[in-house]
């Protein structure tokens, strides 16, 4: 148990003169100090002993707090915006629909209904999942509400109402259970908790077979498409470009960080999930770790699956799920320079794993150790990308542009068009890096805007699924190489 008063907090104790009039200065100050020390130590101690509980979003949604209705003004009407537009607000109610009922029946869930089963609720509505999580007991209809991202508010709700809340340091807030979401790494880790999953929240092949959508998470795109309940500029202003010239408009590294950190953290969390899956001997091999299209083929003929074995392309063979790892290599080339494949780099650790997955039964023990090792390396890398100083250099506008061009130039060829997942990641990366570069430059104009848009349009055409029971157009994916070899 740690007892201590953060330095910052002492500074914000109300001025003694104002509080207690003409009382002797030292005594009063001491008494006030003592009271605060005692209160703080109790709170911090409680925070350490058991994790804080949820208080429910109704505690946030008072009209004078976050439940106002101020038209399109965001600040003050966060809760209504979330409730009306955010898909997370419907995370619980989807458990009541027909597909969820079918899934519950197919999975033979313990409670027989999806909206009462921990397997579903641990992501879809954690406050409902377990009684001990919530102050008021299981809270139905909670969905992914305020506290799932901002942290359980049992301890920080009272200080949050105080005027001095904003002056508290992030460390203190964190100790009270409040999460500092302005930090991109924290945000990425938080999202991947569910959107990649973990041991308790594993969207494995059973769940997919029952009807759950696949979790193909790309932080930057998902973040852009997410109806937000906060001003966008709030994010951008917290990640400024430091070395911008004075006459340039202010640039922001937020978008760039979001993409780069999102890619690395997604890969890291995927590897951690892999290690947990491999450690679970009963369900290994876990099919969700392989490329979907390696087994699932078009239900209509002709299909590449029906080709004679000789004519099949290498990417038609059994392969590792490429989605989380597709963008690591170009990003690593940007970060680590020419030695990006060195023995200690996260890329070589990941590549080693990739070869394990060309068979259907990779040795579980090796997978566990290698995945953990690679995850640690990726974690360090993510931290490096997230740091303000290193990000200035790694994600500068020039670096972003060269990274984007490396995706579509000849040297990026091997990453593209191997499969649908990688090609889609390239598509999303080009789009995300375009926005990131513009945000970093602080300007709207861009010389090659039209060319980039043309490339994206034609890629989109190839990547979209066809009507009927057909997967992605494998033949057209192969032609993407030609398409992308012309740098925009």
């Amino acid at each position: 148990m740690r007892i201590g008063i953060p330095k910052t907090w002492i500074e914000f104790i109300p001025a003694p003169q104002a509080a207690v009039g003409g009382c002797p200065f030292a005594t009063i100050r001491f008494a006030v100090c003592f009271v605060f020390v005692w209160m703080a130590s109790t709170i911090v101690a409680a925070a350490d002993e058991s994790s804080p509980k949820f208080v429910g979003s109704s505690s946030c949604a008072a009209a004078a707090c976050h439940g106002g209705l101020a038209g399109n003004k965001v600040v003050g009407s966060e809760f209504p915006l979330w409730a009306a537009r955010d898909p997370h607000a419907r995370a619980y109610s989807v458990l009541l629909n027909g597909l969820s009922k079918q899934m519950a029946a197919r999975l033979k869930l313990s409670n027989k209904t999806a909206h009462k089963s921990v397997e579903c609720l641990s992501c879809h509505s954690p406050a409902t999942a377990r009684k001990e999580f919530s102050i008021t007991g299981p809270a139905p209809l909670a969905s992914v509400d305020c506290e799932q991202c901002h942290g359980a508010a049992e301890l920080w709700l009272t200080p949050h109402r105080r005027k001095d809340w904003k002056q508290l340091s992030p460390e203190v807030k964190q100790r009270l259970g409040y999460k500092d979401l302005s930090d991109v790494l924290t945000r990425a880790t938080l999202c991947t908790d569910c959107h990649v999953g973990g041991a308790e929240r594993d969207v494995n092949h059973d769940l997919l077979a029952a009807g759950h959508p696949r979790l193909s998470f790309e932080l930057s795109t998902f973040h852009a498409n997410w109806p937000k309940h906060w001003p966008r500029k709030m994010d951008e202003s917290k990640h400024p470009v430091s070395n911008a010239k004075s006459n340039d408009p202010p640039g922001s590294l937020f978008e760039a960080k979001l993409w780069a950190v999102g890619q690395v953290v997604t890969a890291q969390r995927s590897l951690e999930l892999l290690s947990q899956r491999a450690a679970h001997a009963q369900t290994w091999p876990e099919f969700a770790e392989w490329n979907c299209f390696a087994c699932h083929h078009d239900l209509e003929s002709p299909s590449w699956w029906q080709l004679p074995h000789r004519q099949k392309q290498p990417h038609d063979a059994l392969s590792w799920n490429p989605w989380p790892y597709a963008m690591l290599e170009p990003l690593a080339r940007q970060t680590f320079g020419p030695e990006f494949r060195g023995s200690a780099s996260p890329i070589s650790a990941t590549l080693r794993l990739r070869y394990r997955f060309t068979t259907l039964l990779p040795p579980a023990a090796d997978i566990v150790s290698e995945a953990n090792e690679a995850a640690k390396l990726l974690q360090a890398w993510a931290k490096r990308l997230n740091q303000a100083e290193s990000a200035q250099q790694l994600l500068s506008p020039v670096a972003l542009k060269s990274l984007r061009q490396s995706l579509v130039a000849k040297e990026g060829e091997q990453l593209v068009a191997r499969d649908w997942d990688s090609a889609t990641q390239v598509f999303l990366a080009i789009n995300a890096l375009r926005y990131a570069e513009k945000a970093a430059r602080g300007s709207l104009d861009s010389a090659d805007e039209a060319q980039v848009q043309a490339v994206l349009d034609s890629m989109r055409k190839s990547l979209d699924f066809q009507d009927g029971y057909r997967g992605p157009r494998q033949s057209e994916l192969r032609e993407l190489d030609t398409l992308l070899s012309t740098p925009p």
Binding site: T221, W230, T424, N431, L444, L463, P472
Partner: protein, 573 residues
């Protein structure tokens, strides 16, 4: 000269009653001689191992596999009963023995009540050599149906059926009767349900005032228009239907364009809009914006859904700005979405656009229902109303998608439900030979099913020694049938021998195919030139056992051709 009684009496011996009767004695001796002679002959035959004299005939081909296992069928010995009781319908095998293999439906629940039940073997007579057991002679049918009586229940059949090919020997087809306006012979049959004819008139047709019996397929189709063809003097086609190049084509002898035989070549596949009508009668809905494009030939709800989707996507494509850049908008809430491959773009219509789309959909729906001409196309008239009856209905619920529906078409698949017809053996005839008047029929209500007279034109016996006694005729007929069977067997055997000689492995080569075609032709000639009428026996058309059960109809005849239709056979040559 007068003789005295004494003189007369002296001519006869007084002991005449004691003297043996020579004639009788001769008869006795002759009888004895005959008996001894027969016994001698029998024993002689027996010693020569000739058992045919006292043994039953060969079993039918189908039963050859257990020919020597009498106990499979025979559980009783009936000749004694037959002899003593003078009954011909007692057989030495019971129905249970037959039903071990042949589970067939009963012919009729009331069958043979007067006789205490009919045995299978009474009609399907065994030990007659190569006779098809499943095709018993008509005399068995007629033995009851010539004077059908009711035993407590009602039956739906004519009382006196003797022969198909004489005027009063067989009832007219019910359809023909109804069309003629005669009271039907049928008793108790539900005409509406069972027969593909109904008494109603469509409100928008000429004969609306006078309801008449007509085809109940509620769809507009004009055979005369589709089969219309006229020629110039030089033989060139002057008038006909237009094809895609706007040139006339003659469909008057190409019924198979629409009426395609089913897998069995027995009846025809249903006519389908997509395959048969849609090419010329498109369901255009917006010839300006979507020239040549049709709505799906589906339920009104689906048509409505298709139109809604089409116009919504169009409005999103044309009406809204192209996907704006992420940072082009300062609105924090309504940010444009980034495209995500594999996920459809979730765009929303503005209120104004949604109203415009609704207007477009309503217009297109009206257009699709009514007639539409394509712009300078070759298309004929289209639109739902052109063929179907469209009913405007009050929407039942607020969420109902459409306020109109299509009256179900009820196109019959079978017209004469009590008979089993096979089109394949009639393939040499043009369709119009039997379906008289098809080329002049301009209304769907016209019933084009042949009457009995059309069938009798061929299916009539022409024996030389015909007299009014039908039993004599049946005997003759039976002989003819037997002869025919023998001829068929002969031809079949000959053909099979030829085929075996040429070898099955090369049977698919062109030469073998033409050889087979020749054989086939000679086989056909053999049948055609035979000096007899076409079959008229009951089994030819009627499935003896219940139509819901056993579907047997006619003996198994091996297919003798590669190409089922005359046209494709010619093409192969």
């Amino acid at each position: 000269m007068r003789r005295s009684s004494r003189e007369l009496s002296s001519r006869v011996s007084i002991n005449v009653h004691r003297q043996p009767n020579r004639q009788r004695r001769l008869a006795w001796w002759l009888a004895l001689l005959a008996g001894v002679g027969s016994l001698t002959w029998l024993s002689g035959q027996y010693l020569q191992r000739q058992h045919r004299l006292y043994q039953a005939g060969d079993v039918a081909t189908a039963h050859r596999m257990f020919e020597n296992e009498c106990w499979r069928c025979h559980t009783a010995w009936a000749p004694w009963d037959r002899l003593l009781l003078f009954r011909d319908d007692v057989a030495s095998t019971t129905n249970e023995q037959c039903e071990t293999c042949h589970k067939v439906a009963e012919h009729q629940p009331q069958q043979g009540l007067a006789h205490g039940g009919i045995q299978c073997a009474a009609c399907h007579q065994e030990h007659r050599g190569v006779e098809t057991l499943a095709r018993p002679s008509s005399r068995f049918c007629v033995s009851c149906h010539e004077d059908l009586r009711e035993h407590g229940g009602k039956h739906a059949f004519a009382n006196n059926i003797t022969r198909f090919d004489v005027p009063r020997g067989h009832p007219e087809f019910l359809v023909t009767e109804l069309l003629k306006g005669d009271p039907p012979l049928t008793k108790g049959a539900d005409i509406r349900e069972e027969h593909a004819i109904a008494k109603f008139a469509r409100p928008d047709e000429d004969d609306a005032d006078e309801p008449r019996w007509q085809d109940r397929g509620r769809i507009r189709f004009n055979h005369a228009r589709h089969l219309h063809a006229r020629y110039f003097e030089n033989g060139q086609l002057a008038e006909g239907l237009f094809d895609e190049k706007r040139e006339p084509v003659n469909l008057s002898d190409k019924c198979e364009t629409c009426h395609q035989p089913d897998a069995e070549h027995r009846y025809f596949k249903p006519i389908q809009y997509k395959a048969h009508c849609g090419k010329c009668h498109p369901l255009l809905f917006d010839p300006v914006n979507y020239p040549g494009q049709s709505v799906p030939h589906e339920l009104p709800e689906i048509v409505r859904g298709f139109l809604t989707e089409t116009y919504t996507l169009r409005a999103l494509r044309n009406g809204s700005a192209p996907a704006a850049l992420h940072d082009a908008s300062d609105d924090d809430v309504n940010q444009p979405r980034r495209p995500l491959p594999g996920h459809p773009d979730q765009q929303r219509l503005t209120k104004e656009l949604a109203a415009a789309v609704l207007n477009d959909v309503n217009q297109a729906e009206t257009a699709a229902k009514d007639h539409q001409h394509g712009l300078f196309g070759y298309e004929a008239k289209g639109g739902c109303r052109y063929c179907h009856e469209v009913e405007e209905v009050e929407p039942q619920t607020k969420t109902a998608l459409t306020n109109w529906k299509i009256v179900p078409t009820q196109i019959p698949s079978r017209w004469l439900p009590h008979s089993d017809f096979h089109h394949e053996p009639h393939r040499l005839l043009n369709c119009g030979v039997c379906h008289v008047g098809v080329a002049a029929s301009s209304s769907t209500g016209d019933v084009l099913i042949p009457s009995r007279a059309v069938c009798v034109a061929c299916h009539a016996a022409q024996p030389k020694d015909w007299n009014s006694n039908w039993q004599d005729w049946f005997r003759t007929q039976e002989k003819l049938v037997e002869q025919r069977e023998r001829d068929l067997d002969e031809a079949r055997r000959k053909w099979m021998t030829e085929l075996t000689k040429s070898g099955p492995s090369i049977a698919t080569t062109k030469h073998a195919r033409s050889k087979r075609a020749e054989d086939e032709q000679s086989f056909q000639e053999l049948i055609d030139n035979a000096d007899r009428g076409t079959r008229t026996d009951c089994i030819e058309c009627h499935t003896y056992h219940s139509p819901t059960g056993d579907k047997w109809n006619g003996p198994f005849v091996p297919k003798i051709m590669d190409h089922p239709t005359p046209a494709s056979r010619e093409a192969a040559k």
